[in-house]
Amino acid sequence: MTGHRLFWPIAALVALLLVDLAVKPSFFSVELRDGHLYGSLVDILRLGAPLILVGIGMTLVVATRGIDLSVGSVVAISGALACLHLSGLGDQNSVGGTLVAVAMALGLCLALGAWNGFLVAVLGIQPIIATLILMVAGRGIAQLITDGQIITITSGPFRAIGSGYLLTLPLSILIALVVFVLTSVLVRRSALGLLIEAVGGNPEASRLSGLRSGRLIWLVYVFGGLCAGVAGLMISANTSGADANHAGLWIELDAILALTIGGTQLTGGRFSLGGTVIGALLIQTLTTTVYTLGIPDTATLLVKAMVVLLVCLVQSPAFRAKVRRRRKSPPPAPADRPVKVEVSA
C-alpha cells in the first residue's frame, strides 16, 4: 500500500488533521449554520480552492518540463479587471453584468496565458524567464487597472464565486472540483496526458516522432492562465475587493510546492493531478492549523517549513531507503535505537 504514489501525501494530510484533532477536539465539528456547512474543515476546502486551481494549471505546465511564475500576477489582474468592471455598473447585483465581468477577466487571462505560451513555444525562451516577465509586469498591470487602490464591490452574484454556497457546500470548492474532474477525464481518458508527458519527458524526441509539441506547450500555458484567472475571481470575490498588491502574492510558489508534495516531478514527464489537490489541501490545512492552534507569528514560517521538510523527506525514495538500510544494519542497533527514538520524540 505504501507503494501507491499518493500514499505519502495522503498520510501527511491525515497526520496533520489528527494533530489538530488532538489539540483542538472541536476542529472536526461541522454544523449547519445559515443554511450552509460551517466549520474548520469547510474553511480549508473553501480557502484551498484557489490554490487547487492554480496547482492544476501548474501541474500540466510542469509536466511539459516548464514552469509558470506569472500565475500570481494573473490572479491579481483577473480580480482587478472583474472588480473594475463591476464597480462601474449601476446595478452591481445584476447577474448579466457579473457574467460580463467574469468573461472579460477570463478572456484577458486566456490572452496572458497565450502570451506566455508564445514566448516559450514559439520564441523558445526558457519558461522560468519567459513567465518571470509577466510575473513582474503583471502586478504592475493589475496596479494600473486598480489605480493603486483597493476596489471594493458589493455585487452579490460575484461574491458567491468566493464565499457563496450551493447545496450547503462552498461554491468555490465545487468549481475547483469540476475543473479537477474535467481536466482529469480529458488528460487521462484521451491521449492528451500521454502526449503532455511525452513532451516533458523528451521534447526533441517527441517532436521528431511527429508530435506537435509547440501546440501542446502553448495549450498548457493558456490553460494555466485560465485556471489562475478563475482563482483570481475567487480570491477577490472572497474579500469583495481587488487588492492588486497582495492578491495571489507568492501563490506560484505554493502551487509548485503543492504539486511537488503531490508527486509531480519538476523535471517533467510525470504528473499527478490528484496529488496536486492533496498537496494544496495540505498547505491550506497547515495555514488553518497555525491560526487555530495559535502558533505565534514569529514561529509560523518556521513551523510551516518544518512540516514541508518532513513531508518531502518521507516522500523521498532515497531518504526512505537510507532509513530502512540503517534500521536493517545489525551491529549497534539494539543499544542505540531507544535513545534515538527519544530524541526524535
Binding site: S26, T152, N238, G241, T288
Partner: protein, 323 residues
Amino acid sequence: MFGKKWAALAVGVMGMTLLTACGGGSDSAGGGAVTLGFSQVGAESGWRTANTKSVQESAKSAGIELKFSDAQQKQENQISAIRSFIQQKVKVIAFSPVVESGWDTVLKEAKTANIPVILTDRSVDSADKTLYKTFLGSDFVTEGKKAGTWLTKEFASATGDVNIVELQGTTGSAPANDRKKGFADAIAGQAKFKVVASQTGEFTRAKGKEVMEAFLKSQSKIDVLYAHNDDMALGAIEAIEAAGKKPGTDIKIVSVDAVKDGMQALADGKINYIVECNPLLGPQLMDLVKKVAAGQEVPTRIETEETEFDQAKAKEALPKRQY
C-alpha cells in the same frame, strides 16, 4: 567581447555625466520658489497613494517646486534619489524611509551640502539626530493607546471577562509593533480585558478574513476585535457575517487608519470605532519646508493632526473623505 563591455561602460559614464550636467544646469532654486526633493516609498496601498497625492497637491498650492521620486519599495532607489536631489541643489529634501536603518552616509552627504532633511511618516534609527531637521508623522503607539482607551470606556461597566482577538499588521513592521504595544499598555492593569488570540493578518483583507475565520472556530467567546488597520477589519467583518454573527453588535470592532471603505463600514454600524492615521501630510509638510528653508527653528518631532471616529462622526465625515 572586452571591447563591447568597455564601449557600454563608456556610454554609461557619458550618460551619467550628461545627467549630472543637466542637474547642475537646471539649478535655479536659489531664486524665487523653494525647491523640494521628495522621495516616496512606493504605491503599495490606498493610504500611500493618498499620501502621495496630498504631497503633490499641497506643493502646488503652496507654490513650492516639487521634484518627486518614487522608490518602488527599494532603499537603494531612495538613496540614489536623495543623491540626485543633492546634485540638483534643492532647498529641502523630504522622504519616507522604506526601512529604519542604513541612512547615515547619504544623510551626512546632505548635511555637508547644507540641505536640510525632513522625514515623513516613518523614522530612521540614526544615532546622530542632527542628520535630519525634523520628523513629521504619526505616533503608532498613541494610535494603539487610543484604541485601547476607547475599549476600556466602552466596557467600563462590564463585569465578566472581555475576550479580545487581535489582528496584527505585518510581523516586525513599526506600525504593527507599536500599535500592539500601545493597545496592550492601555488595557493593562484591568484583569477583565484578555487578549485571547493574536495573529498577523499582514495588513490585508484576505488574511484578515482567513485569520478571523480560524479565530471564530477556535475561540468559544469573542467580544472584541482589535485590527491594526481597516482592511483587516473589513475582511474580518465578512468572516463574522459568514459565522452568522453581527459585526459591531455581537463582536465589537475597533481599528486604525480611517480609509474610505473603513469609514463606510463604521457608518453602517459594522465597525464601532476607528482611530485615524492621517496620510494627508502635505499641508503640514509644506509649512515645515517653508520654515526650514527660511532658516527658522522647528521642533524635532511633529505629530500629524489625527482624530478618532465613532459611528456618528463617520457619517458626518464620509462624504468628504478623499481616500
